[in-house]
């Protein structure tokens, strides 16, 4: 249960907002839930709702609105390649296609071993260092900038070696 396991972190989060505005903590708590369970399960939504005194549907609508929350299982690591206009002008579409080909998937798909979901995403505020991608997993979000297919594949192979099947 999140409430016990993450008591300190949850208390510290709640302390950031006025006592009568607990709802503000819904997004930080959803991040905690997502790191714990890999994605945000129905049960997790209920847990967050209970902690904050919200309806589970209110929590579910927040999960549905924001793209960094995932309500179903996919790859253990999201490889989110920016293919918005500025990056595309600097080769991001080809980078994305070549990286996908190397891992035998199409953009938006998950590799057969369930390790990676490779997606195209909108501008990540790193347009001067295209091609780039962000890695999202249970540890958080990290940027990898000025990439080549080789450098990105090396990052991914290293992740694969470190991650349990």
């Amino acid at each position: 249960m999140l409430a016990e396991k993450y008591r300190n972190q949850i208390d510290a989060t709640l302390a950031k907002y006025p006592a009568d505005q607990k709802r503000s903590a819904v997004m930080p708590l959803l991040y905690i839930a997502q790191s714990e369970y890999g994605h945000i399960t129905r049960d997790a939504m209920q847990e967050v709702a209970d902690i904050l005194g919200l309806e589970p549907t209110q929590v579910a609508s927040v999960v549905g609105f924001y793209t960094l929350y995932h309500d179903h299982a996919a790859g253990k690591h999201y490889i989110q390649i920016c293919n918005d206009l500025p990056c595309a002008l600097r080769g991001a579409d080809k980078f994305a296609a070549d990286l996908c080909a190397k891992f035998g998937v199409k953009l938006g798909e998950t590799t057969a071993d369930g390790m990676f979901t490779i997606e195209g995403v909108m501008c990540l505020a790193a347009c001067d260092k295209a091609p780039m991608f962000q890695l999202q997993n249970t540890e958080g979000i990290k940027y990898y900038e000025s990439q080549t297919v080789e450098s990105a594949a090396a990052v991914m192979e290293e992740l694969r070696a470190k991650t349990d099947q």
Binding site: K16, S24, P28, S61, I141
Partner: protein, 444 residues
């Protein structure tokens, strides 16, 4: 020019608190908190001519003076959502010159009589938020945050808050909704945040770069700041250069520098790769009209008034460059894809309009369209103008209308019937089937 915002480029190690303090850091804050009244701080910022760097260019001191008086609580919220395509300045500021940014936010909080200030950061800045939390703790350990700061009686807490991937949360009222734990959808205005903002209390919302200017203004005075830039667009601006340019990156320059200097100057962009010709300039990401790269446009000064007069907006100065090889119908498709994805779905013209523009642009780019489709595209865009609840919907038509106006041949080259005379314009987009509507409402 000496850097005002990107000061880490002049002072190595300024991201360390000791180095920042050794270079005059927090002197302005100490002076403000211990010897100035909030109104006096506001007067200095007003006199400096500083205008908002988040897009709209609203005078910062004037905004602060609008706060409704005698309310039980006040808030300052920094807008670090930075999601406009082509914008990557606030991230550099928070990563490389974090204490000056925090000091600016803290001075704003004092001026607004806020006991709590939040920095709302886009969720993708996850790692950066962790770093900033540590820096805030360091500042607190020096006694600049907390209760009764420097014996002044003023108390302030500072927190970061992460969004979770939604461009619309950069719009200030959607940002406040999001910070309250709700869907990031814009509020109807009025009331404005200065009257009813976060938790219905008077709130100042300012951009990261705007606030980072503030400590230097308080330290050196309004006159010093006002002397930089142009009479109506004071100070320096961080210009983000991306796309087809030799040296993409952030460049801080006085407002009023010409596009030509910024794009071709050796200390700035250094020209177009391969010596190619420049075709179009997007001065403010995807959210303002594309300018054709004519000689007159290249000589236009980059200040709020001049870029508006030239037919676009300076906005956040996220300058995306498109060389002669770029097909503008493709560029418009990329941008509409962005707006369709980011439309929050609250109002119909934007939700359905972005869907239809994308649909038609896809058809054009796939070579499946006829001349009437180009007319249809323009009609859909024109029908949205003035009907959207928030500026996102209004922004979304500008890539389409400006590319149709300046680069129509790029569209016509895709048409199946490109040899034939243009067909009669279709008056209205066909009704959207019900099934499609739910799909659109659900977003993607």
């Amino acid at each position: 020019m000496e850097h005002i915002v990107l000061r880490h480029r002049d002072i190595p190690g300024i991201d360390k608190l000791d180095v920042y303090i050794a270079n005059g850091g927090f002197e302005a804050y100490k002076k403000v908190v211990t010897s100035m009244k909030p109104e006096e701080v506001i007067d200095v910022v007003k006199a400096s001519g500083l205008r908002g760097r988040g897009g709209a260019g609203f005078p910062t001191g004037v905004k602060w003076s609008f706060l409704t008086k005698n309310r039980p609580a006040y808030y300052v919220v920094c807008n670090s959502d930075e999601s406009e395509p082509g914008t990557f300045k606030d991230r550099e500021i928070m990563e490389k010159n974090p204490f000056q940014f925090l000091e600016g936010l803290m001075i704003a909080a004092y001026a607004a009589r806020a006991a709590v200030a939040y920095n709302y950061m886009r969720g993708e800045f996850w790692t950066l938020a962790r770093e900033l939390d540590k820096k805030i703790a360091e500042v607190k350990a020096r006694g600049f945050l907390g209760k009764n700061i420097l014996g002044s009686g003023y108390s302030l807490e500072l927190y970061t808050h992460l969004g979770a991937g939604a461009y619309i949360c950069g719009e200030e009222s959607a940002l406040l909704e999001s910070l309250e734990g709700k869907l990031g959808q814009p509020r109807l205005k009025p009331p404005f945040p200065a009257d009813k903002g976060l938790y219905q209390m008077p709130t100042v919302v300012n951009n990261t770069e705007t606030l980072t200017n503030v400590p230097m203004i308080l330290a050196r005075g309004a006159e010093w700041y006002k002397a930089i830039g142009t009479p109506t667009s004071a100070g320096s601006k961080v210009m983000c250069l991306s796309g087809h340019v030799n040296k993409p990156g952030n460049y801080e320059a006085p407002l009023g520098i010409t596009f030509r200097e910024l794009i071709y100057g050796e200390q700035y962009g250094g020209g177009i790769p391969g010596g190619k010709k420049l075709k179009g300039i997007l001065p403010s990401g995807a959210s303002a009209p594309i300018l054709p790269a004519t000689e007159a446009i290249l000589d236009t000064p980059m200040d709020y008034e001049s870029v508006a007069k030239a037919g676009s907006q300076l906005g956040s100065a996220s300058v995306i460059l498109l060389d002669e090889t770029v097909d503008m119908a493709w560029a418009a498709l990329k941008m509409i894809r962005f707006f369709k994805h980011e439309s929050c779905g609250k109002c119909t013209p934007c939700r359905e309009g972005t869907y239809w523009m994308l649909h038609v642009l896809d058809r054009i780019n796939d070579g499946q369209a006829v001349a009437a489709d180009v007319e249809l595209l323009g009609n859909v865009a024109n029908q949205m103008v003035g009907k959207c609840l928030c500026p996102l919907g209004e922004f979304s038509v500008s890539p389409v209308l400006s590319s149709l106006k300046n680069f129509r041949a790029d569209y016509e080259a895709h048409l199946k019937d490109s040899k034939k005379p243009a067909a009669k314009p279709a008056a209205k987009p066909a009704a959207i089937p019900a099934a499609k509507q739910t799909e659109i409402a659900a977003g993607d």
